[in-house]
């Protein structure tokens, strides 16, 4: 369990807090989406999960280990895999398999176990067959899935995604979202997605909206989508498909509130 206990973080002592008294927990197998406008504190939240930032007050623990404790920080970081927005900022290796091996190599694993983990992580991320490909020759979706594979190769129990689909085209986005869902549903990873895209949020079990560093909403995606004002105040906006679904609902059609992308609206109408 990743547990935030009354966490406040100020980047400078005299600055307004980026995160202000946040308490929250994420269990293995959960998909939790953290949403909010720019500057709401959501990226700060992501970086607190694995001790890249430590709270000014309060406590963040990962399976009982305090992220402020220097002695166990590397255990925390191998338990929490991070995937950032721009894959080019996180790919270290010059070919796919070498990059995927970077994390396990840092953990000091023997080479046969690294090979095993790399093969497994690349298979999960759907990159088998591209082992010797250079990163700059991959599509953006493939690059982002390589970043996911790199995190997976450390066998983390939790995965934190910071705007994982912001730079992707629709096909790349679908492939990454599918990979994320599979990780939580089939592999039991605890997943935290920081995003400002309703289509990413629709797949979560739970949505936590941040506004000015505080929790402004905590509930299911369908509840969030049926509260247009909350949605708006969190800096989120329904796309055309979501707006159409809302109008259809108002006309009495049976379209669930979490149908916010074209695919799920069509699926709901088809039923």
């Amino acid at each position: 369990m990743i547990v935030f206990e009354d966490v406040t973080l100020r980047y400078r002592p005299d600055a307004a807090p980026a995160l202000d008294g946040v308490s929250l927990s994420v269990a293995p197998g959960d998909i939790v989406a953290i949403v909010g406008a720019n500057g709401s504190g959501k990226s700060t939240f992501a970086r607190l999960c694995d001790g890249l930032l430590t709270p000014s007050s309060g406590r963040v623990t990962v399976d009982g280990l305090d992220t402020s404790d220097e002695a166990t920080i590397w255990d925390v970081r191998s338990a929490v895999g991070m995937v950032f927005q721009d894959p080019d900022d996180q790919i270290v290796g010059t070919v796919v398999e070498e990059d995927c091996a970077f994390g396990p190599e840092n953990l000091g694993l023997p080479s046969d176990r690294i090979v095993e983990r790399v093969a497994e992580a690349l298979a999960t991320a759907g990159l088998t067959g591209l082992e010797r490909r250079e990163p700059h020759l991959l599509s953006e979706g493939q690059k982002q899935r390589l970043a996911i594979a790199g995190a997976l190769a450390m066998r983390p129990r939790y995965l934190v995604f910071d705007e994982p689909t912001a730079m992707l085209d629709p096909a790349g986005r679908r492939s990454v979202i599918a990979a994320i869902k599979r990780l939580a549903r089939e592999e039991g990873h605890g997943v935290l997605i920081v995003s400002h895209d309703v289509a990413d949020v629709a797949h979560a079990d739970r949505v936590v909206a941040l506004a000015a560093g505080r929790i402004a909403f905590d509930g299911t995606p369908s509840r969030l989508f049926s509260e247009p004002e909350t949605l708006h105040s969190c800096g989120l906006a329904l796309g055309e498909a979501g707006l159409l679904a809302a109008e259809l609902r108002a006309l009495g059609f049976d379209v669930p509130a979490d149908a916010v992308d074209a695919e799920s609206v069509v699926e709901a109408l088809w039923r």
Partner: protein, 264 residues
């Protein structure tokens, strides 16, 4: 910028040269350099050049990737030949070009230096063309390992080198993007003399450096998140080690190259 990208960029193929251990290749490259600089005549150079050409063929790397490196030194080669062969108002000359004359001994010397540069560039480019940056930095780390006794951070240096090589294509793409963005707003890069052209690139360098620093910061964060804490205690997926074949190839080829230079 585009011409610069891709020089010596690793070409992933499967050839005996690709399979040869990186440390062995570093050794052979060192021997090649020694051979080239001790060779006194064209016979030695020709022998070494023949060995390099054979290596290119064996590596199966496309010729274009090899010659791309030469374009960058073209100017130096031309300058070398001209500077050595041209004389001001000589009494004897092969050819007279107005007040200038081509000196036979100078031309001979100039060509000799030019061939030496070309062979050196092709030979060393072949090293990076056939060795992935990770293997290369791993090889360098093993070659330099004795320096660890003097507290030189060999592992960190090797990691830095490997990251630098990995980011060459990314940086080239980024530079190209900035050039295009500025061209779209009317900037001109291909007019005027060399000074004007160089000056035109100044507004490209500022945003490029800004981007690189931002990227370096983000990359450092990502590396930390992936548990990078220096190379102490780090293992490698492919624990490269010099096999008997690698040793034999290195000593055999290396000695042949060095001796070719020494005796011919």
């Amino acid at each position: 910028m585009r011409a610069m990208s891709g020089i010596g960029q690793y070409v992933p193929l499967d050839s005996p040269l690709h399979r040869l251990d990186a440390a062995a290749k570093l050794g052979i490259t060192a021997a090649l350099t020694v051979g080239l600089f001790t060779a006194d005549g064209f016979a030695g150079l020709a022998l070494i050049a023949a060995a390099v050409v054979a290596a290119v063929v064996v590596s199966r790397v496309p010729a274009r990737a090899v010659t791309r490196g030469l374009r960058a030194v073209g100017l130096i080669v031309v300058f070398t030949v001209l500077a050595n062969s041209l004389r001001w108002a000589p009494s004897i000359a092969l050819v007279h070009l107005g007040p200038l004359g081509v000196d036979a001994a100078g031309l001979h010397r100039g060509l000799f230096f030019a061939v030496r540069i070309v062979v050196l560039v092709v030979g060393t480019t072949l090293l990076t063309l056939t060795t992935s940056p990770v293997q290369l930095s791993g090889g360098l780390e093993r070659v330099l390992a004795p320096l660890k006794l003097l507290h030189v951070p060999v592992g960190d240096l090797a990691m830095t080198l490997s990251i630098a090589l990995r980011f060459i294509p990314t940086t080239a793409e980024e530079a190209e993007g900035i050039v295009m963005a500025q061209q779209a707003r009317g900037a001109v890069f291909d007019k005027g003399g060399p000074v004007a052209r160089a000056r035109a690139y100044a507004p490209v360098l500022v945003p490029l450096f800004f981007q690189l620093f931002r990227r370096a910061d983000a990359l450092a964060t990502a590396m930390e998140a992936r548990c990078y804490r220096g190379t102490e205690g780090r293992t490698r997926m492919k624990e490269d080690r010099m096999g008997a074949g690698d040793w034999m190839a290195m000593i055999g080829i290396g000695a042949a190259l060095a001796l070719a230079g020494w005796f011919l």
